[in-house]
């Protein structure tokens, strides 16, 4: 087996809550309680769980947007949370994120060129001509055109906006894309287009995904392995076809039983 692209070791995060009373100690919440896993290059790891399970905290720690209370995040063997500012900036070009809401994640006043090329400007200080060329390449990869470069977000549909967000993530040619609910805000037919696109990009460029979703069917489709989070801990882990067919943990069983439409089509 190859060296993993991403290794997460005993990752934990506590948040301090607002004080209830003036002199009482501030209560804390354990958002992530010692999570470990590895992710091989070119593969997809799904993270499922409900609100408060720690999914989004995990994403923020892997992206080095926040410091963990304990544990390590190793990307290509480098501990992201121990790098100095300059080294972290270099490592960040290997890490990109796609968010849930393609309406909220794009600046409405900036053109597609500005939005998509921004990571290059920030991370590499690339020249204008190179930025434009790379932006065209990234747009082409997600099925948009050069003519779209001068447009602004409101000229696009929700699915097209999510393509722009993915193009922005691809432009630094990252090794790892953290996708936090990338299709949950999209209509069913648009969701299918974006999921197909994400899989094509993986086939063609070998992108690795950490794919966070509450939708078990989506994770089943695009992931090689799944972890189920509850209260900040992994309660079950495995290949989706096995895990969803024979869930062992009661929480996974509950999640599966709640999938709408399962009642009608149970004996499949």
């Amino acid at each position: 087996m190859n060296a993993p692209l991403l290794r997460v070791e005993n990752l934990a995060k506590r948040y301090r809550l607002p004080r209830q009373r003036l002199l009482a100690p501030a209560p804390e919440v354990q958002a992530l309680a010692g999570v470990s896993f590895t992710l091989q290059p070119g593969k997809s790891l799904g993270v499922v769980g409900e609100s408060g399970s720690g999914k989004s905290t995990l994403a923020r720690l892997v992206m080095a947007l926040e410091a963990p209370s304990a544990g390590r995040v190793l990307l290509d063997g480098q501990d992201l949370h121990r790098l100095d500012a300059a080294a972290l900036r270099r490592a960040r070009s290997q890490l990109q994120m796609v968010f849930q809401d393609p309406y909220g994640s794009l600046d409405p006043r900036r053109t597609v060129l500005q939005t998509v090329a921004e990571p290059l400007a920030v991370l590499h200080g690339a020249g204008k001509a190179e930025r434009r060329e790379r932006a065209i390449e990234a747009l082409d990869a997600v099925g948009l055109r050069e003519a779209d470069l001068v447009k602004v977000p409101h000229e696009f549909s929700g699915g097209q906006r999510q393509r722009i967000a993915i193009a922005r993530a691809l432009i630094t040619r990252p090794k790892l894309i953290v996708a936090d609910e990338p299709v949950s805000a999209l209509d069913v037919s648009v969701q299918a287009q974006v999921l197909n696109l994400m899989q094509d990009l993986q086939d063609r460029w070998g992108v690795t995904y950490l794919f966070i979703s509450h939708d078990l069917a989506v994770v089943d489709l695009v992931c090689d392995e799944v972890i189920v989070l509850q209260h900040g801990s992994i309660v079950e882990q495995g290949r989706p076809d096995e895990l969803f067919r024979r869930p062992q943990h009661p929480y996974t069983q509950r999640l599966l039983a709640a999938v709408p439409g399962m009642k009608a089509r149970q004996p499949a």
Binding site: E50, S51, S157, G158, G159, D187, V188, S189, V190, Q191, A192, Q193, L195, N196, Q199, H214, D215, L216, A217, V218, D220, L221, V222, C223, D224, P240, D241, F244, R245, R254, L255, L256, A257, A258, V259, P260, G261, M262, K263, A264, R265, A268
Partner: protein, 328 residues
């Protein structure tokens, strides 16, 4: 006569590109004790239908056709009469419980408000009734929760409070627009089961709006599939899922990721995108995206074709669609 009869409802909205039809002749009926679902994607007109029923359309909207509620025509009713109906005879539940509730008032007071307004109850009896309602929607520790503020409740509990408000006056019709979309799946299941139980107990009519095929399959008896401001297919839910008569219904069904698909399976997609309201074609609204389109599809809006008992589809090419087996 059914509780709710919607007949050739047409709603014209003012858009940046001029007047455009958001609903192009929608008809359906719903009786007490029945459950009806409206399904479709963004811009299909499902929420506009709900807003029209409640008299909450945006300014400048023009309405033609008829909405009869308990025999009374709603489209010509003035605002004060509509206000009397809303919250009293017609209860509403929306997608986002945090925005539906007032963050500055305790939830007990918000439930009591409609009882005082519509039923003329005194403060004390309205509060007692609010407690009974909170218990009925299964909010734990209801007595303490009466004085809680919305931010102190979880998303699922907030939606239960919204349901309690909708039920306060014992409405005949409950309109629920994406009531569980913002909730976790396990909570979604509980809230849907609760709504169904309440509908059964009170004999209300339920109009459920959702984009989720699975939610519909589990929840409603009758299903209307909407596209481009028209009902493209309607019938008993099980029959619609079985037959998938309209090409759009079939496309939606095929595009949905299902548990058990092999890793890397490509999902079927529907080519193109939903036309803007102002660009809606004169004929079948789905024509530009349909694989089976012929010239006649673009000539005139297709009539409803009967494909089974109480089951219609607006498509003139139904006979060329193969049986549903190949679509799965």
């Amino acid at each position: 006569m059914a509780l709710l009869e919607v007949d050739r409802l047409r709603v014209t909205l003012q858009t940046s590109r001029g007047a455009a039809d958001a609903l192009r002749g929608v008809s359906f009926a719903l009786d007490r004790g029945q459950t009806l679902g409206l399904i479709g994607e963004s811009g299909c007109g499902k929420s506009i239908t709900a807003l029209a029923l409640m008299g909450l359309l945006p300014d400048g909207a023009r309405v033609a056709g008829s909405i009869r509620f308990d025999g009374k025509e709603l489209t010509t009713l003035d605002e004060s009469r509509l206000c009397q109906l809303r919250g009293d005879r017609i209860g509403m539940v929306f997608q986002e419980p945090m925005t539906a509730l007032n963050p500055l008032h305790a939830v007990g007071r918000q439930i009591a408000e409609s009882l005082r307004l519509h039923k003329g109850m005194s403060g004390a009896s309205a509060r007692a009734e609010a407690l009974r309602l909170l218990e009925r929607v299964q909010v734990p520790q209801a007595r303490e929760r009466l004085d809680a503020y919305p931010h102190q409740l979880s998303g699922g509990q907030r939606q239960r409070v919204v349901i309690a408000i909708a039920l306060a006056c014992g409405p005949d019709l409950l309109i629920a627009d994406e009531p569980t979309t913002a909730l976790d799946v396990t909570i979604q299941r509980e809230v849907l089961d609760l709504i169904l139980e309440l509908v059964r107990e009170d004999g209300m009519g339920l109009l459920l709006i959702s984009h989720d095929l699975g939610v519909m399959a589990d929840t409603v008896q009758q299903l209307l599939v909407m596209y481009g401001g028209t009902v493209v297919e309607s019938g008993p839910t099980a029959a619609v899922f079985e037959r998938l008569a309209h090409p759009y219904t079939r496309g939606l069904f095929a595009a949905r990721p299902r548990l058990g698909l092999a890793r890397g399976t490509r999902l079927a997609t529907i080519a193109g995108r939903v036309p803007e309201l102002a660009d809606m074609p004169a004929g079948c609204p789905f024509a530009d995206r349909c694989e089976r389109v012929v010239d006649a599809c673009r000539a005139a809006p297709p009539p409803a074709v009967c494909v089974g008992p109480g089951h219609d589809a607006r498509c003139i090419r139904i006979e060329v669609l193969p049986s549903t087996e190949s679509a799965r």
